[in-house]
């Protein structure tokens, strides 16, 4: 039999089993086991066999903790998604509010979860309240953005059809918008499910009694390598399972694969009103903040209003000192954050480009990257600390990894968007792979890259603050941890506000660069 005929026969016999991802997973586990065996004496890495052994002896402890965290995550998931649905509904009913709704949503999404935890703890007291709120906070934005895109995703003629039978906006919502938005909703939910688990765990890091996060802290303090790795492995498995389960559900319900939504598309009209909208968002945020404290009659010792934070930062006798402390901490954090952020972006985009040049690798890497993107990287922060120590390397790596996976997936997706006909034109001039890469593929990738870069800003802030809070004892994360334990609520609130504002500003800065670059390479994205 000739080689070609043989290949055809084999292809017919196993038509749909994709070997690539399984091969990738096998290689990953084999490498991990090997490294674990080699590094037994270093007390940093547990091999898969060590983890299995730990889980089989401590399964009761682990399942109890897992159920607690899962319960909190599920409650947060439901609440956060309901919030996203109502916010999207508000933006739909009252389109003018959309920019302010998304702006406020972004600002809240930028809240440093680690520091929000202890503040919530004061109000909720013991129990699951803060974990559930943090899970909801981690979730609603990832659902809101695709939902807003989805509700606008239907072509105009479908709405004309509804109108041509004399029906109004409600019929359009029921018959057209809701169904057209469904795939986008699933996209959001798919990312939200692991994010909810992450939120619940972060909540448990900051002063809960039970759950996976509590065990993680305990394992870390006790330098129990097997336990730390077992916890991170379970968290990762849960995240990937949640991601895959929602994907499977989506495939049953939908006609096509859920679309890849990276961020809200930018609009030109938004540019004209950007400053006014930012001002409105700030005003609304301050009013909501002060209003909540007044409405719930919160204790002024714990609950600092906008005025008190302003006092603490600018008017109080020790304001100068407060600002210096904050400034030093922020500088320290920036030294970890910025290199990690840039390294993650570069590595993600670089690997995506390399994978495109070697298509055989891409079929292995893409499914792995998509699955790993769902891993709540922050829950693996303790591992990174174990592996790389409490110094700069560990934190920078954590931030980079946090940024890396979403960027890789986004860039691979972007690279696939290269119009085939344009590539055909290049082929017809016998252009080599590098010419095609530089002139066609990379420009086609840019919108996806920038969307990932924008969303990576709050994500990297979360990563750096968690690492500092848990382990390194440096930077703004550590300052917040210290303030929380010393009940220095002026400092804690000031830090939360400044970190949120700075991440929102970082997000806006990336948007400005994005706009400049896309105006040149992808003007159609700005319309």
């Amino acid at each position: 039999m000739t080689g070609l005929a043989w290949r055809r026969v084999r292809a017919r016999r196993i038509p749909h089993i994709r070997v690539g991802p399984w091969l990738g997973i096998f290689v990953l586990f084999a490498g991990w086991e090997l490294a674990g065996r080699l590094l037994t004496d270093a007390f940093v890495l547990a091999a898969p066999s060590d983890i299995l052994r730990y889980l089989s002896t401590e399964w009761q402890l682990m399942t109890r903790a897992l159920w607690v965290t899962l319960g909190n995550a599920a409650a947060g998931f439901v609440i956060g998604n309901l919030a996203a649905l109502s916010l999207a509904g508000l933006a739909l009913v009252w389109p003018r509010s959309e920019r302010v709704v998304t702006g406020l949503a972004l600002l809240v999404f930028c809240l440093p979860l680690v520091a929000t935890g202890p503040i919530l703890r004061v109000f909720f007291g013991p129990g699951s309240g803060p974990q559930i709120v943090l899970a909801a906070l981690a979730v609603y934005y990832t659902t809101l953005i695709p939902l807003l895109v989805g509700l606008r995703a239907a072509p105009d003629s479908w709405f004309d059809l509804v109108r041509s039978y004399g029906r109004g906006r409600f019929a359009a919502l029921v018959h057209v918008r809701a169904m057209a938005a469904l795939p986008y909703l699933f996209t959001g939910l798919q990312i939200a499910a692991p994010a909810a688990f992450l939120g619940a765990m972060v909540g448990e890091f900051t002063g809960a009694e039970r759950g996976m996060g509590v065990l993680t802290i305990r394992a870390l303090r006790a330098l129990d390598v097997d336990m730390t790795w077992a916890l991170a492995t379970v968290a990762t498995a849960v995240a990937i399972f949640a991601y895959l389960a929602i994907g499977a559900l989506a495939r049953r319900v939908l006609l096509a694969e859920p679309p890849v939504i990276l961020a809200t598309p930018m609009s030109d009209s938004a540019k004209r009103t950007a400053w006014r909208d930012a001002g409105l968002v700030a005003a609304c945020a301050i009013m909501a903040w002060a209003g909540a404290i007044w409405l719930f009659d919160l204790n002024p010792f714990f609950a600092k209003g906008p005025g008190q934070v302003f006092d603490a930062l600018f008017l109080a006798s020790d304001a100068q000192q407060t600002r210096t402390v904050l400034g030093d901490a922020l500088t320290e954090t920036a030294l970890f954050l910025v290199p990690g952020y840039l390294a993650g972006l570069l590595a993600g985009a670089g690997l995506a480009v390399m994978l495109v040049l070697v298509p055989a690798l891409s079929s292995i890497a893409m499914p792995l990257a998509i699955a790993l993107r769902s891993v709540p990287i922050v829950t693996t922060a303790p591992l990174v600390v174990l592996l790389l120590g409490r110094g700069a390397t560990g934190t920078i790596t954590l931030v980079a990894v946090m940024v890396f996976f979403p960027t890789l997936v986004a860039c691979l997706h972007g690279l696939r968007q290269t119009p085939g006909q344009v590539l055909d034109v290049f082929d017809s001039y016998a252009a080599g792979p590098f010419t095609r890469l530089i002139r066609v593929r990379i420009p086609a990738m840019l919108p996806a890259f920038f969307a990932a870069a924008r969303m990576a800003v709050p994500a990297s802030v979360l990563a750096v603050t968690v690492a500092e809070w848990l382990a390194t004892g440096a930077g703004i994360g550590s300052l917040m941890a210290l303030s929380a334990s010393l009940s220095d609520y002026d400092m804690l609130w000031s830090s939360v506000v400044i970190v949120s504002v700075l991440s929102a500003v970082g997000y806006a800065l990336v948007s400005v660069i994005e706009r400049r670059v896309l105006a040149r390479y992808a003007p159609e994205q700005l319309s």
Partner: protein, 266 residues
């Protein structure tokens, strides 16, 4: 005529004009009357405003000046009673509904009872037997157009507005549709307005062809077509039809020549 169909209305447009935001004048002060039960084709160069005219008659676009009366009432009234159907340039089938589901959607939007047998008959009429349960993605471009036309006919509208309904269809299917479909709406007794680029199609399908100038649309010629019905593709090659086609082409050319800007400058 089916018992529950609306009687075909007369349409009177008085001085209607449309200027879009940004100042583009699509249509300028048109006076047109379309007789009840007639089929009229609107022909003109691309972007001349004929679709805008159709959309104003459908009540989907509000004229900047003038008024449209359908059977003596404004379009909103007809819309409210679901008395018209539009077949859009793009078939606009909802991808998550089957052919049957898309046809039934029109009935439920129009708040009419869904009669399964009537839907089956429509599916047969447009030659989609065996595809009732197919989703739009499984159909060819021509089949989608036919499904969209079946949907437009489902409510038995008194007024049928077709905006280049055969736009995305290959030439052979187009001829077949042009021969078969008029019989359906003629049998239902509708006032039909057809926007098209194809001169031969306009002549073959309608009782009257209105030739429009480049933007803003003005009437260049109003040609009545007295070919016998039912019409066949062969009829399009008769001397009478050829003369009419030539007359429409001549009017189009005249409209282009009289336009303020020559084509090259647009």
């Amino acid at each position: 005529m089916a018992p529950d169909s609306t009687p075909p209305p007369e349409i009177v447009c008085t001085g209607i004009a449309k200027t879009f935001e940004g100042g583009t004048k699509a249509v300028q002060a048109l006076d047109l009357t379309f007789a009840a039960g007639q089929t009229t084709a609107l022909v003109g160069p691309s972007g001349c405003g004929k679709s805008t005219l159709l959309r104003m008659i459908a009540g989907l676009e509000v004229p900047s000046a003038g008024e449209v009366l359908i059977g003596g009432a404004p379009p909103a009234e007809t819309l409210r009673k679901a008395g018209l159907s539009v077949a859009f340039q793009d078939p606009s089938l909802l991808p998550w509904r089957s052919v049957r589901g898309n046809i039934e959607l029109a009935l439920s939007l129009a708040r009419r009872p869904v009669d399964a047998t009537a839907v089956d008959q429509l599916v047969t009429l447009v030659g989609l037997d065996g595809f009732s349960d197919a989703r739009p993605a499984e159909l060819s471009g021509g089949m989608r157009q036919r499904a969209a036309i079946a949907r437009a006919l489902a409510t038995k509208p008194g007024l049928l507005l077709l905006d280049e309904p055969f736009g995305a269809v290959d030439e052979l299917t187009r001829q077949q549709l042009a021969q078969d479909l008029p019989r359906i709406w003629e049998a239902q007794g509708t006032t039909t307005l057809l926007v098209t680029h194809s001169v031969s199609e306009a002549v073959l399908l309608s009782d009257r062809v209105i030739v429009l100038s480049p933007r803003p649309a003005k009437v260049v010629a109003d040609i009545s077509i007295s070919l016998p019905r039912p019409r066949t593709t062969q009829m399009g090659r008769s001397n009478e039809a050829t003369d009419l086609i030539d007359a429409v082409f001549a009017a189009l050319a005249e409209g282009m020549a009289a336009a303020e800007r020559p084509l090259a400058a647009q």
